[in-house]
């Protein structure tokens, strides 16, 4: 016990030293640049008073709302696309395997930014799709490809005996997937899928390039008006960090609650 406490103590000291070092670097560099810190102006971009005196969301918070909406919808779609692609790749149909393989290679071997531009500048005018929908389409297609590989890996990791015992009971392939294979797969792939969800939230910053007022775009706009470069970018980064950390924490809690004895 005493050793544990000592270890924690030493760790804390190291952590504090590290933080002080970072703060020191920042202070030195900003004073060298003669940067004029104006943190007091930042809260106004998070919350602001409207004309009638009531509190309302500031520009950053409004941008966050757009980011959350785009991320949440894309997350659901990416999961569905990933699931379907994984099942197609594992299916016995040759055509299904080829189609899913082409989709996968196309998405994984081109930059997300280019995919976003292709959808926004080439496909959306043809089908008359709004920027918001284009953004969701690009993000969910991109993250869905990665999610499908994670899910496929998870399905392949289920022991062969699970299929055999389900089949030997006369169960159909669909029932076997639904009751036996997928529930076990999800428990295994939840951590890597969470990582993918975090990537999605971070990648959503790219949608600012197609004229969507998400968190990043809001930050950019504020900076170009006020030159609060450091304060706003730090704040924006912190907001992204809060989002991704809360997702990881929530999933960790889910994992603990749903664990069963092996």
């Amino acid at each position: 016990m005493i050793f544990v406490r000592k270890a924690v103590f030493i760790d804390s000291i190291k952590y504090i030293l590290f933080l002080s070092f970072i703060v020191f670097i920042l202070t030195v560099s900003s004073s060298n640049m003669n940067y004029n810190w104006q943190w007091y102006r930042v809260p106004g971009y998070i919350f602001t008073y409207s004309a009638d005196g009531s509190l309302e969301a500031g520009r950053l918070l409004k941008g966050l709302g757009v980011t959350v909406r785009i991320s949440a919808i894309s997350l659901v779609l990416a999961f569905i696309i990933g699931m379907i692609t994984a099942l197609l790749r594992l299916s016995s149909s040759f055509a299904a395997r080829v189609v899913s393989r082409i989709y996968l290679e196309l998405i994984r071997n081109t930059p997300l930014l280019i995919q976003l531009f292709v959808i926004y500048f080439v496909i959306s005018p043809v089908f008359n799709i709004s920027p918001f929908v284009s953004a969701i389409l690009a993000l969910s297609l991109f993250e869905g490809a990665y999610a499908s590989e994670i899910i496929r890996g998870g399905i392949n990791a289920i022991p062969k005996g699970q299929w055999e015992s389900a089949y030997s009971l006369g169960m159909s392939s669909i029932d076997t997937y639904r009751y036996i294979i997928l529930p076990q797969t999800f428990k295994q792939v939840l951590p890597p899928l969470t990582g993918q969800a975090v990537s999605l939230i971070k990648d959503s910053a790219l949608v600012s390039t197609i004229a969507i007022f998400d968190l990043t775009m809001a930050g950019q706009a504020i900076i170009s008006e006020t030159f609060l470069t450091f304060e706003i970018w730090f704040t924006v980064a912190l907001i992204y960090l809060l989002m991704t950390i809360s997702i990881s924490t929530f999933v960790h809690y889910l994992e603990k609650r749903n664990s069963y004895a092996h």
Partner: protein, 251 residues
């Protein structure tokens, strides 16, 4: 009047190729056998003789290359519907139990009854309780497989297969993965099943079980059935040299 066999296997062949495709290995070779209602057929032989492969062919877990299998008048062929129909009537118990780890014991047993036999929830509950009583672990209905000993898991696996009310039960080395002190509890369940008149095909290394509960021995070697005899005849008076050599090693 002629009695129809419940399992009829005719000239069954299955072969594998060695990894470099140069060698053709016969896993099951020209197997022809009829099995009748109530028989307890024990399949024995040296490892690699094709016993498990033969057994797995019987419920379509393994594809075969030529020959026919007819179970309860349903041919096991390319029709997926026939395959599902046969699997409903043929229960199987595996060496490694293969219980569903994310479900309770009760759910493991009732799932297929509910989904495949389409019985009501209350019927499923009754079947589950009755079968757990039969295999002697009524208190574990809400446990997860990971919380049970190997012997208990295998008994649950037997109950799960029985829940479908199958006409035939296949046992694929059901006691080989068990600690020695747990083998008897599983064998006892199997012996009781045999006594109740269940048609069973049992791949095993337990000669004691074969003698006590078996009605017929299939001795396999290199994919072929070398001897197909009544249990007492086989153990007292093996004909073929290969069976004699095998028996001298295991007895």
């Amino acid at each position: 009047m002629l009695i129809e066999p419940i399992i009829s296997v005719n000239n069954l062949n299955k072969y594998f190729f060695s990894p470099d495709k140069s060698l053709k290995i016969d896993a099951v070779k020209n197997v022809t056998v009829d099995i009748f209602q109530g028989e307890v057929v024990v399949v024995i032989g040296p490892s690699g003789a094709g016993k498990s492969t033969f057994l797995r062919c019987l419920n379509g877990l393994e594809d075969f290359d030529s020959g026919t299998i007819v179970i309860d008048k349903i041919p096991l062929d390319h029709h997926h519907k026939n395959r599902l129909e046969i699997r409903k009537e043929v229960g199987m118990v595996f060496q490694s139990f293969n219980l569903f780890p994310h479900m309770t014991v009760g759910k493991n047993i009732s799932l297929a009854v509910r989904r495949v036999r389409k019985k009501s929830v209350s019927e499923c509950d009754k079947i589950t309780v009755d079968l757990l009583e039969k295999v002697g672990i009524t208190d574990k209905i809400d446990s997860y497989p990971g919380q049970l000993s190997g012997g208990q898991q295998q008994r649950v696996a037997i109950a799960r297969a029985l829940a479908m009310n199958p006409k035939v039960m296949l046992f694929d080395e059901a006691t080989s993965a068990l600690d020695p002190e747990m083998i008897s509890e599983v064998l006892d369940v199997m012996k009781n099943l045999a006594k109740d008149g269940m048609t069973m095909v049992v791949v095993t290394h337990e000669m004691g079980f074969a003698r006590e509960a078996g009605s017929r021995i299939l001795f396999m070697d290199n994919g072929e059935i070398v001897e197909d005899r009544k249990v007492e005849d086989f153990f007292l008076d093996p004909i073929e040299d290969r069976s004699k050599a095998f028996l001298s090693k295991v007895l």
